[in-house]
Amino acid sequence: MAESHAVVHHPALKHHFENMEQQKEAGTLGMWVFLLTEIMFFGGLFLAYVIFRTKYFDGFVVGSHELDVTLGGINTVVLILSSLTMALAVYYSQTGNRRLLIFFLFVTLVLGLVFLGIKAEEYSHKFEHHLFPGPGFQWSGEPGVGDQVRLFLWIYFAMTGLHALHMIIGAVMLLFLIYFAWRGKYSPEYHAPVELGGLYWHFVDIVWIFLFPLLYLTGYHLAAGH
């Protein structure tokens, strides 16, 4: 009798949930609560940016002009594309297509690594030109705003660095998802880890959607000469 009771449950159903639907709803809600703490985590830095931008607007425009809009723009497209492939991975986990699920998780991982590679290239360029706001910082541009530019670059490194850390964590998460998908753990009845991983990946994309205009585009009109 105990055995016949056991077979009606999905093997992934934890004993403290009534059914798979309730388990999934609890998981989604829990993931969003975690993402809210992430909003506040990044929120403090966004607040610092807003305050210092109003105070030192001239230095922020000049500092922003030091960033590479082309590389930042390419990275924006790469991240949005990776969000599409992640969304497609979730779709194929819902429809039970194991091969395409693994394929799109893998493409998402590759795009995430491309993003990090371009980011590393940008960082090394800043170090070479003494623009990292550490002991080696040297400002040879417009006189009088060096300290403000340094502050801008500190916020740039803090925010993009924290974002890049999230990307690295996301890449590790994708490796686990790919492994378990390959093992055949996910099905149309149970694929919550893929969905919740997707929520995390899209959240990191949203952070970048705000970082790109705030950091890269604030001084872009200087380049256009308008």
Binding site: E25, R53, T54, V77, S83, A87, Y91, G198, L217, H226
Partner: protein, 100 residues
């Protein structure tokens, strides 16, 4: 209540909109609208983020409880920034964007 599966068509449509908005934000950033620069850039960013939250993150199809949680999170962030600025921007001698 069974799971809502968002079609691939919707995903591709949202992707196209996000790419178009990215090019728009870069294009308009080439012009100097003074104090409007930040407002234009943030409006586009908020539209993009909303599309991601509603469709890629399925919030449009999520339970009402999840929707309330999501909205409250962004609301608190807004309160934090708006209330802090109401202090800083009204301090004597603090520069207000666009006003010299």
């Amino acid at each position: 209540m069974s799971e809502h599966i968002v079609s691939r068509k919707v995903y591709f449509g949202i992707f196209g909109a996000l790419i178009a908005l990215t090019f728009t934000t870069v294009l308009v950033a080439r012009y100097d609208f003074g104090r409007l620069n930040a407002i234009v850039a943030m409006t586009i960013a908020v539209i993009k983020a909303t599309l991601v939250v509603l469709y890629f993150m399925h919030v449009r199809y999520s339970s009402r409880l999840t929707q309330v949680i999501v909205v409250s999170g962004f609301l608190w962030l807004f309160i934090m920034i708006a209330f802090t600025l109401s202090d800083y921007l009204t301090r004597p001698g603090w520069p207000v964007p666009g006003l010299k």
